[in-house]
Amino acid sequence: MILPCPDPLVYPALTRTDLVRYAGASGDFNPLHHDHEAATRAGLSDVMAQGMLSAGLLASALTKWFGAGSVASYSVRFRSPVWPSDVLSAHCRRLEALLAEDGTRMARAELELVRSSREIVLLGTACVWTDAVTANP
């Protein structure tokens, strides 16, 4: 059964500070994400956001929509680099109710993280246990 998708979530424009904050929080200190000289030496025009920052932002849409601890599985494929000043939004494109083998009600979500230019930067899929889904079948 196809369920109604939750509303998109728009994040504030990404700043260099957001990248540094994520570097410290995650422990990913690859210089391409905070050191402009290292980034340009590697042929980039600017520091590039950590892929897992994008994956984390998309996952935060899941926990906002379905609750903390609701995610059973989560997969992402990186499609395009993300840069400072990008405005990203998280979208649920399809939500389908399904029954796990043990009878647990779950839902499978198809997800996209999109740049304001409508370019997909990250494709995701997730399976969630949700009160919202079980309470509003």
Binding site: D18, L32, A42, L53, G56, A59, A68, V71, R77
Partner: protein, 138 residues
């Protein structure tokens, strides 16, 4: 030399309240102020030091041409503040494929399993695919 299926490293990781909150804030998790449940991608914190060593030393990938291809998580129990996790990293695959512009690209898949030290039960499995693009022809 490590090969597919080999355990690369094992280590323990404690989920600290302050670290969890710092991470949740960095990924704009709306529950960051009051939840003791880790955001879905929090396991990257437990594997960050390992991934750094893996990329730079164990696999010696060239960072300037290495990109993160995919990341996958399976969750079996919520990860909570105070949990102590035994982390086991395995090399799942290490393959060379013909690059689109000639040369060989290297595709490396690693898997980290997180088990509760207290109960031994599997809490989470994290799978990561890195792609080292073919070197430019000189």
């Amino acid at each position: 030399m490590i090969g597919p299926g080999d355990i690369i490293e094992e280590w323990d990781f404690t989920v600290e309240a302050g670290k969890l909150r710092e991470f949740a804030r960095a990924v704009r998790d709306v529950h960051w102020l009051d939840s003791d449940i880790a955001p879905p991608t929090f396991p990257v914190v437990a594997s960050a030091d390992f991934v750094e060593r893996l990329v730079t030393d164990l696999l010696a990938l060239d960072r300037a041409r290495t990109v993160h291809g995919e990341q996958h998580y399976d969750y079996f129990e919520p990860i909570r503040v105070g949990d102590r996790l035994r982390c086991t990293a395995r090399l799942a695959a290490d393959e060379l494929k013909a690059g689109r512009r000639g040369g060989k690209m290297r595709i490396v898949t690693t898997e980290v399993e997180f088990r509760s030290v207290a109960t031994g039960s599997l809490v989470c499995r994290e799978t990561m695919t890195s792609i080292e693009k073919a070197a430019a022809e000189t």
